[in-house]
């Protein structure tokens, strides 16, 4: 089996690569690539994302044909895809970081700044927070409710259809921190930085 981590030259993905390689060992091949054919032929795709919503969307669009390839992979062929952090946020129709920017539109909704209640809550939301699992998700197999995950973000994904939400976390409000819609998975937290419990989520995704 092949898992492709999409390298679209946005932000630092070495931690994602290291964690997937640690979990995969020799049983699964981890490819790091922006090559469209490699992405097409892989069994699963990981879409990381760091920086702003706009910078990530711009970086995706800079690679000719990449968005189409991802659309074909996730929407037409319905193969498993995991978005991490801004990778998840880009599933939305639109994001409001820096300026209004169109997302991939895979899961209807928007990405807005977390309401910090006039400075009561510091932003970015950085550190370990507990997840509240609200629906069964395949990537949460053997993950206990209220497990701690590592977060770094100032914006949150607000999906229109609440049924896609698989977990939330409490920071100022109930922030959506994990979604599952058919073959599309996403985490706002960083499983690659969430110690052994995070690696378990990666393992679950690889084992889908």
């Amino acid at each position: 089996m092949n898992v492709a981590i999409v390298d679209y030259k946005s932000g630092n993905i070495s931690s994602v690569i290291n964690s997937f390689k640690e979990v995969a060992k020799d049983r699964v091949k981890i490819e790091v690539s922006s090559d469209l054919n490699k992405i097409k032929s892989s069994d699963k795709v990981v879409l990381p994302g760091q920086g702003s919503f706009k910078s990530c969307v711009d970086a995706l669009n800079k690679i000719k044909g990449l968005t189409d390839t991802l659309n074909e992979f996730a929407i037409t062929k319905k193969k498993p895809l995991l978005g991490i952090c801004v990778g998840l946020q880009m599933f939305a129709d639109v994001g409001y970081e820096e300026t209004e920017t169109k997302g991939l539109g895979w899961i209807s909704g928007k990405v807005s700044k977390i309401d910090n209640q006039n400075g009561k809550f510091k932003l970015p939301h950085i550190g370990w927070n507990q997840i509240n699992i609200v629906k069964e998700s395949k990537i949460f197999k053997d993950i206990e409710n209220n497990s701690h995950m590592y977060f770094v973000h100032s914006y949150e994904f607000i999906p229109n259809d609440k049924k896609v939400i698989s977990a939330t976390t409490d920071y100022s409000t109930n922030i959506v921190c994990s979604v599952e819609k058919e073959n599309i998975f996403g985490t706002q937290f960083h499983p690659e930085k969430s110690d052994m419990i995070g690696l378990k989520i990666i393992d679950n995704f690889i084992n889908l």
């Binding site: 290291n18 640690e22 920086g51 927070n129 701690h148 770094v152 690659e192 930085k193």
Partner: protein, 251 residues
């Protein structure tokens, strides 16, 4: 609920740990990778490396250390010391650092913080402020505490937030190495001034100091070096203690 973080810091010189955990069963007490792994296995919320390599020809040793550590530790890794440019930051991130802390370069050239936070995102840019009290204010020092910039630390903190820093690592130079506790006044004043998280550093001698840093200093995270070295306290002991004092920690 967001938990307060405990961050053990290791001083690394020429690729070797200078002070560190001194366990009898440790194979190589100078190996930063092994020490970092002990901390992360023990529940450290993040690991911090401070590179204190003095000579230029050995500066590349830190990249090798970061690369090896990031393949073994799956909690955030912050690296600081001698970071001069956007290119230095790029190299450290590519080696597997999750955040880079910038000290002297942030004072000398505001573009480093502005450009790097735009390029890599604020989440990986930590500005380290070394502050020393002078009368009723604090001044920012650079070059490992040798040079006084004369800049007011509170105003500087606010400016760094505007420039794009994701976090501030505030070290009291008056307290650093004294083990009498954080400069609570400094921490709480900076923390109230900015909207980004503050990591308190400098002066921890016992576990109550960690409690004070969070409760009184309003820090989001506490960084300590010597109390975790030589087995004085484990990270787990520190967390259990904070928990017993009603401070939310990841256990």
């Amino acid at each position: 609920m967001l938990k307060n973080r405990i961050i053990p810091c290791l001083d690394v010189k020429n690729g070797r740990v200078v002070k560190g955990i001194n366990f009898v069963d440790l194979k190589d007490a100078g190996d930063p990778v092994e020490q970092a792994k002990i901390y992360s296995d023990g529940g450290a919320d993040e690991i911090c490396f401070l590179d204190i390599t003095a000579s230029n020809e050995n500066r590349d040793t830190i990249y090798d250390v970061v690369e090896k550590t990031s393949k073994k530790c799956f909690v955030p890794l912050t690296v600081g010391g001698g970071v001069r440019s956007v290119e230095d930051i790029n190299k450290l991130l590519n080696c597997g650092a999750d955040k880079v802390s910038i000290n002297t370069a942030a004072v000398e050239n505001s573009k480093v913080v502005i450009d790097s936070s735009k390029k890599f995102g604020s989440q990986c840019i930590v500005v380290a402020i070394d502050a020393k009290k002078n009368g009723d204010k604090w001044e920012v020092f650079t070059h490992g505490g040798r040079n006084n910039s004369g800049i007011d630390a509170l105003e500087y903190a606010e400016q760094m937030e505007k420039n794009g820093a994701g976090e501030l690592l505030v070290t009291s130079m008056d307290r650093d190495g004294t083990q009498v506790g954080y400069d609570i006044d400094l921490m709480s004043k900076i923390s109230s001034k900015v909207n980004i998280p503050v990591i308190a550093s400098g002066g921890v001698g016992n576990l109550d100091h960690l409690v004070d840093g969070i409760k009184l200093g309003k820090a989001s995270a506490v960084l300590a070096a010597s109390i975790f070295h030589y087995g004085k306290h484990s990270v787990k002991e520190a967390k259990d203690y904070l928990d017993s004092k009603g401070i939310p920690v990841r256990i």
